[in-house]
């Protein structure tokens, strides 16, 4: 009887305009929940959507909550079910057969107390923290005396920009993330907040972050932050579905934060900034390619266009050649004046081992080699930046004059006529005063 009633209101083309018209003519939508004794089914009026998917009549959702006569204690039910569930006798230690809280229908009503943690999850707080650290590294290696306002504004601004980009990405990719084991516990997949809420958070964080960078740091840093948000949330998220070149764009996105930090300190971009960007750009490939090799079945099922799915050998080759390119890059870094020339030798050892792991991955792309490469890529950046910092500190102790950023003749950078700063009226010369406080180095 209900089905006939619903078929009477069968709509062939779902659109907002038609639905509104239907509402004004007192269209009645009946959602009928059957009682306990029959099959717990939900009958939703079937509307043929505009896609080319086949239509179906059967409801396929899990049974909806029903109204029982008396209230039942959930923990009792859980205990009863868990005692009845058969465990795999072959000794699998997975808890797939046990029911957990995730097997219940849950309320979608986030309390104010939960919101900060939800926002942190939405912004991928661990990744964002690492992004902020790379920006601060760019700031720290820049040859200008730092001010606390600049430093704090850079930290907060970069954090908000990265949070905004990640939140927007999660809102846009909710159904794809639900298909991947790595991403299926995310906030938007579990519908903990609505898409409107997520987008609002993203827009607010983005505007606040860029505003902070514009007003409290400088316009160049703000422009880089805004460009990063647009590149990640707009371009990269779209490209992930259509072409394998998304990895290259993602590497550029990862390389911009040190440039932001350097620009925050000096107001311009110098060779030092570009080498740090290059370091992060090249590092992204072994890091991401090894990770994506291990989860390529999830990427494949979700429909992502990744190199690890399309061509496994080329995936490993790309990671190898970018790892090898790190060797000459790290050799060149001391010429920019960031670090002492001994950095070239320390970094050679680290890069050689990294290249060895990448070579193993290329020779035999399997889970083991990919995992080893990925794990080392996680510790590679702290090690390299540690060496850079040591070289920077060592360079500081040998500086004769604290008020100048370079002492003539003491650094290879000063001998090279090509680099900016060594020529009169060169474009992109590094300033010696902080744009905010107006103080020079050492004041």
């Amino acid at each position: 009887m209900y089905r006939r009633l619903l078929e009477k209101h069968f709509m062939t083309n779902f659109s907002v305009i038609q639905l509104t018209r239907k509402i004004t003519t007192n269209y009645q939508l009946n959602i009928h929940v059957c009682c306990k004794n029959t099959n717990n089914r939900i009958i939703v009026p079937h509307k043929r959507s505009s896609s080319s998917l086949p239509s179906y009549d059967k409801p396929v959702f899990p049974p909806l909550p029903h109204q029982p006569n008396e209230s039942i204690n959930i923990s009792d039910i859980l205990r009863k079910i868990q005692s009845e569930v058969k465990i795999d006798p072959n000794g699998s230690n997975n808890t797939d057969n046990k029911l957990s809280n995730s097997d219940f229908w849950v309320e979608q009503s986030p309390s104010l107390r939960e919101l900060p943690s939800l926002y942190l999850q939405l912004s991928k707080s661990r990744l964002t923290t690492l992004v902020v650290l790379t920006a601060l590294a760019g700031y720290g290696f820049a040859p200008v005396h730092e001010s606390l306002t600049c430093f704090t504004a850079l930290t907060v601004g970069t954090f908000l920009c990265s949070a905004s980009a990640n939140a927007c990405n999660q809102v846009m990719e909710a159904p794809f993330d639900s298909q991947m084991d790595r991403c299926k516990q995310r906030v938007m997949v579990r519908h903990l907040i609505s898409p409107l809420h997520g987008i609002t958070f993203s827009i607010t964080a983005g505007l606040t972050g860029v505003g902070i960078l514009y007003n409290l740091v400088n316009p160049l840093t703000a422009a880089l932050g805004a460009a990063n948000i647009i590149l990640y949330a707009g371009v990269y998220t779209t490209m992930k579905r259509y072409t394998v070149a998304n990895t290259w764009l993602g590497s550029i996105v990862g390389a911009i934060p040190p440039a932001m930090g350097w620009a925050a300190a000096t107001g311009t971009l110098d060779w030092g900034a570009l080498t740090l960007c290059g370091l992060l750009y090249l590092w992204q490939f072994p890091h991401f390619n090894s990770l994506s090799h291990n989860v390529r079945q999830d990427y494949c099922r979700a429909g992502y266009n990744m190199l690890s799915v399309v061509d496994t050998t080329k995936n490993a080759l790309v990671s190898l050649r970018n790892t090898l390119a790190l060797i000459p890059l790290c050799a060149v870094i001391p010429f920019t004046g960031i670090s002492h020339c001994s950095f070239s030798f320390y970094s050679l050892a680290v890069n050689a081992y990294f290249s060895y792991l990448a070579w193993n991955f290329y020779k035999d792309p399997n889970k083991q080699t990919a995992r080893e490469l990925f794990r080392f890529s996680l510790v590679y950046l702290p090690i390299i930046f540690g060496f850079l910092a040591i070289g920077y500190a060592f360079k500081e102790r040998t500086a004769a004059d604290e008020s100048k950023h370079h002492v003539e003749g003491k650094y290879l950078a000063d001998l090279c006529p090509v680099l900016p700063g060594n020529q009169a009226n060169s474009i992109g010369a590094v300033t010696t005063t902080c744009p905010i406080t107006g103080k020079g180095r050492g004041e």
């Binding site: 909550p65 979608q108 159904p175 519908h191 099922r301």
Partner: protein, 160 residues
């Protein structure tokens, strides 16, 4: 299918049991989110209906329900196809020894699956982006109507 070591390529979502327990004491005005469906991994939402629901909120509720259902149907169909193809492949390569060979075959399978479903995925992605944007706008409209309704109620209450 025999118990071979290649079973691990099937993934965990095939072995998971159906959710058998349901929440009780449902309240009508709260949204409830279901567990992830066994096959489609999409969660359904039972939107709560307020007593003084505005037209915009009703539109949103119906639209969002339809959208989640559409997502569910699509991924159910897609994942079923994936599982069928993969099981078929695993039965075919049951006797093969050597991890490298199996990895190579699985890599070839993933590549061919992605490339053969490219148009399918592209059209779904384009539609999803469109529907998601529309969902955000409808939510904003519903939220606005709720604010207007609240203001109107408070004004009429203060008048009376």
């Amino acid at each position: 299918m025999s118990k071979s070591s290649h079973l691990r390529y099937l993934g965990s979502f095939v072995r998971k049991p159906e959710p058998q327990i349901t929440v009780t004491n449902l309240q009508p005005h709260i949204d409830y989110v279901s567990p992830a469906h066994r096959l489609s991994n999409i969660r359904q939402i039972r939107y709560g209906k307020k007593k003084d629901e505005t037209a915009a909120e009703r539109t949103l509720r119906l639209y969002a329900t339809e959208l989640h259902e559409w997502n569910h149907r699509y991924w159910e169909q897609q994942n079923q196809q994936y599982i069928n193809l993969k099981q078929q492949l695993l039965t075919e390569i049951d006797g093969i020894d050597g991890e490298e060979e199996v990895e190579r075959i699985m890599g070839e399978f993933y590549r061919s699956y992605l490339l053969s479903n490219k148009d399918n995925f592209n059209s779904y992605t384009a539609q999803w982006r469109k529907y998601n944007l529309r969902l955000v706008f409808l939510s904003a409209r519903a939220q606005g109507s709720r604010v207007v309704r609240t203001v109107r109620n408070s004004v009429s209450r203060s008048k009376s």
